[in-house]
């Protein structure tokens, strides 16, 4: 049934059998191909347009016993130019070839934009029929297409379609038959008089016949989209351009475009009537946005959502933590150690490989369930369009406080890594906003810190780990806000700038997309964090074996090692936040953690594995991998029951001070977790976590800070971070233990407050001096 295809000689696509040619034209994604399939069914042919590798689809259809040829043209935005070879094909065909009827397909839900092409199609003077496709989507937006009014204004038939569902096919066929029989007389839109005169003047110098093509050539020349090699044509163009500018005060190119946009705007207003009955999706978006973007509710809702994410992640993850922990411990520590012993390796090497490497792997694997779930929920929120709104709510809240609204946005979306968040501040053009934004980022909980939180939560806050992790995230945000607020009023005074944010509509994320996103992040997390923990585990398995003795540097027991000696010397500094001198591994971990936060847990792992190397040797000799795996599997139903029981009693804050109960409840089998349980109370553990959250960002973050704001502000950020971390941890610990030593606690808390006050005064002085310098130099140079 195919009657047409391309001919070798040129662009002749017109029907060889003399059938009327109906060309389907429209913007890309207006549904042309769907309409084409609807009209032609199986009677179609796919080939290439002559000279280009652009797909050409043609076919036949019939209505009322009359056959016609249908050409599915590539989508095109404008007949004047632009786009690739495919748009050129459509343009040339519509301007140069014999077309008996153009079926202009427009997306009713995006009508104003699509009507711009309709303007140009009407200018060609060729018979036209308007197919208003996707009317269902327009209705879902609360817009009712006014087919009759549109037809009257255009002077051409208008047919409403939902091509995707096959609706409107008969009406379209009938309209095509009618239009082929009696070509409609369209109301061709006109340009302002000055432009029409210019078109006529330039057109008169062109050699082409007085057709639509000549008019379009003239328009192209006037708009500067093309140039003629003939000097007299160019002279006419320049003269016409100057004349229009003199007459109207506007360039002809702008007047031409303005005429099309204005016409489309007016016509769209006539063609679509607002019904106020929005589709379900948009109603849902509207209602949800009224809540989540509400000035007063936005922020609490965001915190609630975040709270639920961590509670559910931790509680549900806890069901599987013991399984992952015990199973990976059986395989990677006991099993690996046993295999290596069987292979005849010396004990020290077995200890290092099974304890350092296997222990590290075991530690990372243990946290896969809660961290994986956290990533899953964050990916869901991100994909659903909520996170963008959370950032918007945050912006409003912050601007109310006189802070740069965009400062927290990078970290809210994804709660990932401080480094890209700092680098992302580059697109903030206001130097003050950029500086404040950069200085806030190190306080946001990155994924590396999540490992530390999880490790401590498993041991000390097994029943309310989610709340503790949430609290730490919120504390990070609060300190970031406080920092920006303080700096904005002292060292970096100025007004916050508004910022641009575009909100996507809500959508139900696809399970595949969310799972894939969460999996990618988890994979990177496990590999990156895992590598660091394993490597540091090995180094710190060796390092604690060397110490300074009366005979010089010698192999020593771990407690006399250089690492222990150095850490013990610094330990008194951390005493006010609850770290005793004999808890030197905690201090070592903090020192090493300045390089990367993952190292905190890596260090603890190395040291504890080393301390217990002798016990572990017995495990390697009798690994009982099978029994341990079985026990691991049995933990799942037990924990699931506890999880379901815990739903009725979500808050267990009373356990904060009860070290023994928490330790027993932890059931931590891992040496590192057991080591933590021995070393901290829940209170000192929380203080330690707060220190970890706030103190020196990792080396990469420091590098990013230096690049973005220079050495001075980087140094400030590091020192301020350490000081804030110490003060916050100290205040938390001292408040928690106030009853035991009230006078000491008062002294420490007062000292922290006084130091903060001093800092504020110093920063204010700095700010005043900076303002004077700026005023003197007449420049704005903050960074």
């Amino acid at each position: 049934m195919v009657k047409s295809c391309h001919t070798p000689g040129g662009a002749a696509v017109a029907d060889a059998a003399g059938l009327p040619v109906v060309a389907l034209a429209g913007n890309p994604n207006s549904g042309k191909t769907t309409v084409f399939n609807l009209l032609t069914g199986a009677h179609q042919h796919v080939g290439n347009w002559p000279g280009v590798t652009v797909e050409q689809r043609s076919g036949t259809a019939s209505t009322g016993g009359r056959k016609f040829s249908v050409i599915d043209l590539p989508g095109v935005y404008s007949l004047l130019g632009g786009g690739g070879a495919d748009q050129g094909v459509a343009r040339n065909f519509l301007l140069d070839e014999r077309v008996d009827l153009i079926v202009d397909i427009v997306d009713a839900s995006n009508l104003e934009r699509h009507l711009a092409l309709t303007f140009e199609l009407l200018e060609t003077g060729k018979p036209l029929l308007l197919a208003l496709n996707m009317v269902d989507e327009a209705q879902a937006l609360g817009l009712e297409p006014q087919v009759q009014a549109l037809a009257e204004h255009l002077g051409v038939p208008v047919v409403a379609l939902v091509a995707r569902k096959g609706k409107g096919r008969q009406a379209l066929l009938a309209a095509i038959a009618q239009a082929l029989q009696q070509p409609p007389r369209a109301q061709v839109p006109a340009y302002p008089d000055a432009v029409e005169q210019a078109i006529a003047a330039v057109g008169a110098t062109l050699e082409a016949a007085p057709t639509a093509k000549r008019r379009f050539d003239a328009l192209r020349l006037l708009e500067g989209l093309a140039a003629s090699p003939r000097p007299q044509v160019q002279a006419a163009v320049h003269a016409a351009q100057s004349q229009v500018l003199a007459q109207t005060g506007e360039d002809v190119a702008d007047l031409v475009a303005a005429a099309r946009f204005g016409w489309a705007h007016q016509l769209a207003a006539i063609a679509l009537q607002r019904t106020g009955r929005m589709g379900l999706r948009h109603r849902v978006t509207d209602v949800l946005d009224r809540l989540v973007l509400n000035e007063w509710l936005g922020m609490p809702i965001f915190l609630l959502v975040l709270y639920l994410v961590f509670i559910v992640s931790f509680s549900a993850g806890k069901v599987f933590i013991d399984f992952f922990d015990q199973a990976s411990s059986a395989l990677f520590i006991a099993g690996l150690g046993h295999l290596l012993l069987q292979a005849g390796l010396p004990d020290w090497l077995v200890s290092m490989a099974a304890g350092g490497v296997g222990g590290g792997v075991n530690l990372v694997v243990s946290f896969i369930p809660p961290i994986g779930l956290t990533f899953l929920f964050l990916a869901f929120l991100d994909d659903s369009g909520y996170m963008a709104r959370a950032a918007y709510a945050m912006d409003r809240f912050m601007r109310r406080l006189g802070l740069p609204g965009n400062a927290l946005v990078p970290m809210v979306i994804g709660f990932g890594c401080n480094v890209p968040a700092i680098m992302g501040s580059r697109i903030i053009e206001d130097p003050r906003g950029r500086l404040l934004t950069v200085l806030m980022q190190p306080f946001m909980s990155c994924s590396a810190r999540l490992t530390i939180y999880m490790a401590f939560a498993v041991v000390f806050f097994r029943d309310n780990g989610g709340q503790v992790v949430f609290l730490l995230y919120v504390l990070g945000i609060a300190v970031a806000l406080l920092t920006a607020w303080m700096l904005g009023r002292t060292a970096v005074p100025g007004e916050p700038m508004p910022f641009v944010m575009e909100l996507p509509p809500y959508r139900l994320p696809s399970a595949r997309s969310v799972a894939l996103q969460a999996w990618q992040r988890l994979k990177v997390f496990v590999l990156r964090v895992g590598k660091v923990i394993v490597a540091i585990g090995v180094v710190l398995f060796v390092l604690p074996g060397i110490g300074w003795t009366s005979d010089g540097l010698r192999a020593t027991p771990i407690d006399q090692s250089l690492l222990a000696q150095g850490s013990k010397a610094i330990a008194p500094v951390f005493a006010p936040m609850g770290i005793r001198r004999d808890e030197w591994p905690a201090v070592s971990a903090l020192l090493a953690g300045a390089a990367a936060k993952e190292i905190v847990i890596g260090t603890l792992n190395g040291i504890y594995q080393r301390q217990n190397a002798a016990d572990l040797m017995a495990t390697y000799r009798h690994p009982d991998v099978g029994d341990k795996l079985l026990q691991a599997v049995q933990t799942i139903p037990d924990n699931a029951r506890a999880f379901l029981g815990g739903l009725a009693d979500p808050l267990h804050l009373h356990e904060l001070q009860d070290s023994q109960a928490a330790t027993q409840a932890s059931g931590a089998t891992h040496e590192t977790l057991a080591g933590l349980a021995r070393m901290f109370t829940p209170l000192s553990a929380f203080a330690y976590l707060v220190f970890v959250l706030l103190y020196v960002p990792c080396a990469s973050t420091m590098g990013a800070l230096r690049r973005e704001v220079g050495w001075g502000w980087m140094t400030f950020s590091v020192l301020y971070g350490v000081g804030t971390a110490w003060a916050a941890a100290t205040v938390i610990y001292q408040v928690g233990t106030f009853a035991i030593h009230p006078q000491g606690s008062v002294a420490w808390i007062a000292a922290c407050i006084a130091a903060f006050a001093l800092l504020v005064v110093a920063l204010r002085q700095y700010g005043r001096r900076a303002e004077q310098r700026t005023a003197a130099a007449g420049l704005e140079s903050l960074v």
Partner: protein, 102 residues
Amino acid sequence: MNPLFAVRDSLRAAGLAGAAEIAAQLQVPAEVAADMLDHWVRRGLAERLEAQPASCSSGACARCGLCGTRTPGAVLYRWRTPANATPRTAAITLRSVSATSP
């Protein structure tokens, strides 16, 4: 006023803006606003800034991969006149907007 010239005036006044912002201000669909802004870019009077998602703009994602944003950045437009050398707005952009943004 013709919407194309209204867009021009609006961007000229704002200095730097996204299509959605202009669209909301002038009550036109975001895509149409973007088309009109692109006209002024073609005419050399405005420039188009491809703002990547803030948390990915370092290109560090390949390295850290943790930021979780994998969406394309949005586009901002800046009016080109000496008077607007210091833009009045700063931007962190999240996602390209759809026609149906509220």
